[in-house]
Symmetry: C2
Subunit: 657 residues, 2 copies
């Protein structure tokens, strides 16, 4: 991406000083052959690549030389890690998990109710999704810190995608059924990626794009909360900032309810203060964790005694109690809703996956334990499949709750079990108490929760490190904020791919010069003091040569040559007679690459310039031989260092005009 | 793709021998700083990248410091190269061009009539397409050897794509109109790519995939000719080998016409013999070039005197004479055919482009002149746009005719002008003579023409050089032969992309060991004699570290470490206390990459292993500083060579268990 040269020449020649200077005295370069590695047959080569691609983490290693029965047990343990860590479980760990579990429960209950709204579903579905999925994950998942449940971004994404298919108000049943269908296929997608070990696919969504997307989603979600926060009746269905702001102000003169605003605002201040304190002083991490539940209780009580709901303060009203009803029959397995649910499921599933894996990896590296991405995907997939059959919508790992879980000292996934037990008790016994909970509070809770997703420090770092990543980041952000979640997502993905393609299609090349007094050859752009060897042009290619860049590389080198020849002509210097190509960074080459080199060689011969190669890698030299290019250019034209190549060329220079 | 290591350590340490051995004596490594390049501001960085991506060929260079009027003239010349080379045109060149022009004309006339059939169009449209487009190209194109006109593969592709939209027999008019619409948008696509300098996009179709696709298309086309060759009346519309063979044999008992077969077979033998002679002895290159016309004349005469057409030998019958009628009004600029034409146009345009550019580049490198890909695309685009308005369908550069053009000594694009003049004369005066030309001969001519597209030598080379390219090649081939042209194309493209993604997502890593008696550190897989330094693990990363591979790189390195630690434990050796990462091949790194390194550092600290970096590149070291990673790891942990790093680490080893 940047125009500076690559390293590999740095030391090589600096250290080859003594040796090459010796050569330049004797003028007889000692040609040291580049070792040609043992040939692999097709099967070995294929096998090794497949292994590195799909089984790079060598998942079967523990199974090596074990008895059949042992293998079976290991297999079961691999599928259900709880059987493994369960054995070494003890009271100390349990205490940690209980505390953590209670903390995240207190955080998740109000969040769930709010997030269900984002997905245009009745509040209880949020709670349902915090009961079954965490249990499944606890027995199948391998992360110790992740907290499972519905999350803001996925809820919003699911909500918008479903909304574009069915109106949740007019056809609530169909809408709900489609939601379960999408959840089912989200699970299928995740499990499939895991089973076929395609986990690496999610690595194609760049960090920068995710940062931008998350921030944008957070803003969008916060904006959506203005409905409940200002107590606006008729609110836009669109999620872009323009239409939201518009419908907020069009409602300003009549639609706003001051009681709602006062209530919401005061509790939002409270929540943000707690959040601030918790951030400033790690000792008080529990403060932001319990603040939401506290505000729910308080506000509910206030509304109950003041009966503010009579004054137009919107309240939750009724939440269906009782545990998750079965929803197997509700999933569409035929009809055109099947296809729609399938599409939505794939998108929601991938995003949920990206979030969960990112969280899992973060905490795994904090506590230093390995996390098998593909196994994680199977666990997440299984939990969503089961979830879709028990009235849950897409659940995944939540940034905020996982952090709280970690800080309140969770030891294992048992904290998730504790949480889901609390959720069940809530569903069974205390849902009626939520009757008077004002929506404004839920809005405030969601706002204070999603603020954490706006990671401006990351954005600043991205700006510092890589300007183009920053563009990707901003593209995703503005896409979400000004257009919609899908569009933001599309932008994020396409920019990520564009970057990959750019990276492989435009490799760096550099002109090398000799640092005065040494035989170090370095990028002349980077080291202006480096002097060119008269009659010789030294170019370095900084990437593997594949069909995607072979033509560019060839033409770039020729252009370097033409420029140099013009310069030389202007200054009446010795004409360029040798082109040395430094190939150290060229790790691989394919047929197109070899074709390009052959064309380069032909053009150079026409120009009566000799091509000399320095330090081609083992793979490359091997392919040079199999493709007969080595003979074409001549074995004596391939050297191990630029210094050797120069030592070979310079004496051969003729002083012809 | 392969499991062997990369070069860059080869020499470096071999040559750093004297220096490092000195260090290991004194035990005080002299830390040589890696030069940090001058910071670029965002604008410079952005500019340089945009330039390298879109203007890498520096097209505006000749315009530098010129007067306004001069710039204008240069601009016109750039758009119409003929104005430039026209000035230095002379009789000698004209002679060459006339001979070449006549030769390719004699070759193209029969081919055109046949190819039009492939596109399900009346014969004259093939001839039309060899009149206007070559003229446009002659004034705008910059290749001197390419022969423009309809080609087999594009005709077939266009035919199948159009057929799937409209039936050419039932709705000939709509079919023809859609063909012109597709041609128009093919031209638009090509011109657009050229204007916006997106020429590099076609580099994403890998050489291997093209070889397979072309061979498959050739076989399919040859099979299609069995209809005319065996004189079968009701022939399948499908192009896959199974249904073709099926309909051939189902017609065997009644549908075959022995006269047709005898006629076709004998001339096919004649054509192939000429082709063989021409190949064996370059002196007779003209033999295969004129053979088609000869066979047309002969066979037409034979049919005319024997009136074999009465015996069921299919003949061309009527060809509309006269030059191209305008077809501006026939192009669909509204309605749903607009969309369909647009889609088909993009596909056909891209394929035509790929073929033309490939040919242009080949001959340009043979005669050593530069070819501006983007300018070529504008020329090809313009010629197809004009063509679509003058009753032509998609034209491009033809492999076979361009080769003949080159060998018969063409000097400039004037040979195309000569050809198109001959075509016009044919249209005006001698189309009636084609009345009795048997279709079997056209079939034979096409078969002998497309055989050249089966480049088995290329396939063998691909197999030798890169097994995975070979899979891509075969995938495209079988896709075309057994399914359809589109499917083969989709396979070709997707495999090409898969390879690119694979290449960036799974970079190579290697464990380095010390070659006994030296301080050379090399890939231990490749050099089994290399011995590991006790207590130190040396890993080399062979690629830039981006979001697409950062996680893999991190986990791979950790896995190397874990394996090594197990080995060490088994053998009661000193435990690993230093992990040296050789970064020479790492040309760039992004935020995800730095995150990965930070996580690696954290995990290592947990394991109480020290991370030491060797020879990070300028870009990388720069980003280490901006992202503050340099301080995190500690400046004193970054060395210029592996030897330095080892010299620093080894003495610090403690003998704790």
């Amino acid at each position: 991406m940047s125009s500076m040269g690559a390293p590999s020449d740095e030391t090589k020649e600096m250290d080859s000083r003594n040796l090459s200077s010796l050569q330049s005295q004797t003028q007889t370069p000692l040609v040291r052959k580049v070792g040609i590695p043992p040939r692999q047959n097709f099967f070995e080569e294929f096998q090794s690549t497949v292994k590195e691609t799909f089984f790079s983490d060598d998942p079967l290693r523990p199974f090596k030389d074990q008895t059949k029965s042992r293998k079976f047990i290991l297999g079961i343990e691999a599928l259900f890690p709880i059987l493994k860590w369960g054995r070494s479980y003890n009271v100390a760990k349990l205490r940690g998990d209980i505390i953590a579990g209670l903390t995240i429960a207190s955080l998740c209950i109000p969040q769930d109710i709010g997030y269900a709204k984002l997905a245009n579903l009745a509040p209880q579905y949020g709670l349902y999704s915090s009961f079954v999925p965490p249990l499944i994950y606890a027995v199948m998942g391998s992360s110790r810190d992740i907290a499972i449940g519905p999350v803001a971004v996925v809820s919003l994404l699911l909500g918008t995608l479903l909304q574009s298919e069915i109106d949740p108000v007019e056809h609530p049943t169909e809408y709900r059924r489609l939601a379960f269908t999408a959840t089912f296929f989200a699970g299928i997608t995740q499990a499939t990626l895991g089973v076929f070990r395609l986990g690496f696919l999610i690595d194609f969504l760049s960090h920068a794009a995710i940062v931008g997307f998350m921030a944008g989603a957070a803003i969008t979600i916060a904006l959506q909360q203005l409905k409940g926060f200002l107590g606006i009746k008729n609110f836009t269905k669109k999620t872009d900032i323009v239409s939201v702001i518009d419908s907020v102000f069009s409602a300003a003169n009549h639609g706003w309810n001051w009681r709602t605003i006062v209530l919401g605002a005061s509790f939002l201040v409270f929540l943000l203060t707690c959040r601030y304190i918790g951030k400033r002083n790690k000792k008080f991490f529990w403060l932001p964790a319990i603040a939401p539940l506290v505000s729910v209780v308080l506000s509910t009580f206030i509304v109950f005694i003041t009966r503010a709901d009579k004054e137009g303060v919107e309240i939750v009203n009724h939440i269906n109690g009782g545990i998750n009803p079965s929803s197997v029959k509700e999933i569409y397995f035929r009809g055109d809703f099947l296809g729609k649910g399938f599409k939505i499921g794939i998108v929601a599933g991938m995003i949920a996956l990206t979030e969960a894996i990112a969280i899992g990896r973060t905490f795994a590296s904090m506590k230093d334990y390995q996390l098998d991405g593909n196994k994680e995907m199977m666990a997440l997939g299984a939990m969503n499949i089961v979830g879709s059959m028990t009235s849950c919508y897409v659940a995944t790992g939540s940034f905020s709750r996982s952090a709280v879980n970690y800080m309140s000292g969770c030891q294992t996934a048992v904290s998730n079990i504790v949480m889901s037990i609390v959720v069940v008790l809530t569903l069974e016994f205390i849902t009626p108490l939520f009757k008077f909970t004002p929506n404004a509070i839920l809005a405030a809770i969601i706002i204070s929760a999603v603020i954490g997703l706006v990671d401006y420090q990351a954005a600043i770092l991205i700006w510092k490190v890589d300007k183009f990543d920053f563009i990707a980041c901003m593209g995703a952000f503005f896409g979400v904020v000004f257009a919609s979640v899908e569009i933001g997502l599309v932008i994020a993905v396409s920019i990520s791919f564009a970057k990959i393609l750019l990276q492989v299609t435009r490799p760096q090349t550099a002109i090398l010069g000799r640092i005065p007094g040494t035989t170090v050859y370095r990028n002349t752009q980077q080291y202006p003091e480096a002097t060119k060897v008269s009659g010789v042009l030294i170019v370095r290619i900084d990437s593997a040569i594949y069909f995607s860049n072979s033509n560019y590389v060839k033409e770039r080198i020729l252009r370097w040559l033409i420029d140099e020849e013009e310069r030389v002509k202007r200054n009446y210097e010795t004409r360029i007679q040798f082109l040395i190509v430094e190939m150290s960074p060229v790790t691989d080459i394919d047929t197109s690459g070899i074709h390009a080199l052959e064309e380069l060689l032909r053009s150079l011969q026409k120009r009566n310039v000799q091509l000399v190669l320095a330090n081609p890698g083992p793979v490359v030299i091997d392919k040079f031989h199999t493709s007969n290019f080595a003979n074409l250019i001549g074995e004596d034209k391939i050297y191990l260092t630029v210094a050797d190549a120069v030592a070979y060329s310079s004496p051969k220079l003729t002083e012809d005009p």
